[in-house]
């Protein structure tokens, strides 16, 4: 396969997802790539970042000089607080989630399915796993966005018709950002809204385990 394009960087993926956040939204960023989004929230918007450990209203990642042992995000990385910050304990952090106050949870994933299912807690062939807050977030947030690489390290698709790994939650995903583009689960296919520069729809289809249907207004990923 001849592919001219270069896959999107992690920072670009995070920035593109952050561009979806509306002014006033309460947003939870999951461990891994999603926590990167806190560095890319558009300056013209106030977004309240919530984390499982009870920090409400954190901001960007801290520099080594700025970091303290007291403030971390859901990935346990040092972050800064914004002026509107408040702190609750762990059970109240999840009360906020179950109560339905989160506009979106951005989560990492191993697999995303066309029917809106996703899997992000157990690797194939392993016993046990890491659920973290994902199952609570997936059923509590108004929307679930996924941020993941389009294929595994050995080139297999992560976007599938149905998940093969044990589910984190069923039918909840509304947006999927990968290093090849921006997708919406559409039942039996993925609707391709934006595509990484240099890739064709056919290129993306070849690397996807479900039908890819380009949107009528398909464009390149821009931030």
């Amino acid at each position: 396969m001849s592919v001219e394009g270069k896959r999107l960087s992690r920072d670009l993926m995070a920035a593109r997802v952050a561009a979806e956040f509306d002014d006033g939204w309460v947003v939870n960023l999951g461990v891994g790539m999603p926590t990167r989004c806190s560095d890319f929230v558009p300056e013209d918007r106030t977004v309240i970042l919530h984390s499982e450990n009870g920090v409400i209203g954190y901001g960007r990642n801290a520099t080594v000089e700025e970091a303290t042992p007291y403030v971390v995000n859901g990935g346990a990385q040092p972050v800064l607080l914004t002026p509107l910050a408040s702190i609750v304990h762990h059970a109240d952090a999840f009360a906020i989630i179950r109560r339905g106050l989160l506009d979106v949870a951005v989560l990492g994933a191993y697999e995303a399915a066309a029917n809106g299912d996703f899997a992000n807690w157990r690797i194939s062939g392993r016993k046990g796993g890491g659920i973290g807050g994902a199952m609570d977030l997936a059923v509590g947030a108004k929307q679930v966005f996924l941020l993941l690489e389009h294929t595994t390290r050995d080139g297999r698709p992560r976007l599938l018709e149905r998940c093969a790994l044990p589910l984190t939650a069923a039918g909840v995903v509304t947006l999927v950002m990968t290093d090849l583009g921006l997708f919406e689960p559409a039942g039996d296919s993925f609707r391709l809204r934006e595509i990484a520069p240099g890739f064709s729809v056919d290129d993306v289809q070849q690397l996807t385990g479900a039908p890819v249907v380009p949107a009528s207004d398909l464009r390149e990923v821009t931030v």
Partner: protein, 247 residues
């Protein structure tokens, strides 16, 4: 009233019996009771049940973690939100023991874990949550519909001991946490029969503003003041950068 302050971490954990169940607070570095965990490790209690966010990791910077207790097979059972690494390349002692059938590892969604502990501390035996419905963690549990939505019944957690880290304590055991140090600490302090606290600063009764106390002293049995020398007052911030540091 007698002060709850004891002289050393060793004294604080002296009574922990084999077979005890222990809540261990902390989320990442903040609020992790490293000194009490290290003292428990030295104390030797075994056949333990640990309830925490995670207990898989051992560290190479000299900090003793619950992962060391697991590695030395002193833990019979864990209840955690993370029982294995989410990175394919990493494996923990817990995961290996779990695969070998040598430890009982119950995985539970983190919000369910927090609410089970909160319920335990609040005298509520069980509750319904939507988290995990339709997944492996809800299998075999009672389900019920409320308002057209399906929920799963989850049972409360109480334990013999809680290991707590706070910013300030008074000699009665009133506690104040700083920033995200709070995490599991207040709910775990309420859910244990015997709550042991390591405090960055211990003050006299009356010095903390009652309106600003997070955990009332009635939930606390023993307090240790973390010494400036020889105690792990705070991990250096650099150790917290598990991902990329921002430059």
């Amino acid at each position: 009233m007698q002060s709850k302050v004891v002289a050393s971490f060793e004294e604080a954990v002296a009574g922990v019996e084999d077979g005890s169940s222990i809540l261990v607070a902390g989320f990442g570095e903040p609020g992790s009771p490293h000194n009490l965990v290290a003292a428990l490790y030295e104390q030797g209690a075994t056949d333990l049940t640990l309830i925490a966010n995670g207990a898989g990791m051992t560290r190479d910077d000299g900090v003793i973690t619950t992962g060391n207790l697991v590695e030395e097979k002193r833990v019979r059972r864990v209840v955690l939100a993370f029982t294995a690494s989410t990175h394919p390349s990493r494996r923990t002692p817990l995961e290996e023991l779990n695969e070998a059938g040598k430890i009982e590892a119950q995985i539970t969604p983190q919000g369910t874990l927090a609410e089970r502990i909160r319920a335990g501390g609040a005298g509520i035996p069980a509750f319904f949550t939507p988290a995990g419905v339709g997944t492996e963690v809800a299998e075999g549990k009672e389900h019920r519909e409320f308002g057209g939505r399906t929920y799963v019944l989850e049972e409360a957690i109480v334990a013999d001991y809680a290991l707590i880290r706070c910013w300030k304590a008074d000699t009665f055991g009133n506690l104040v946490f700083r920033r995200s140090q709070r995490n599991f600490n207040p709910i775990m302090a309420m859910a244990a029969d015997c709550t042991l606290v390591e405090a960055e600063e211990v003050v006299e009764v009356g010095e903390l503003d009652p309106d600003l106390i997070h955990t009332p002293g009635i939930f606390v049995q023993r307090v240790v003041s973390i010494p400036e020398a020889g105690g792990m007052l705070n991990a250096p911030p650099l150790a917290m950068f598990s991902g990329r540091p921002r430059s």
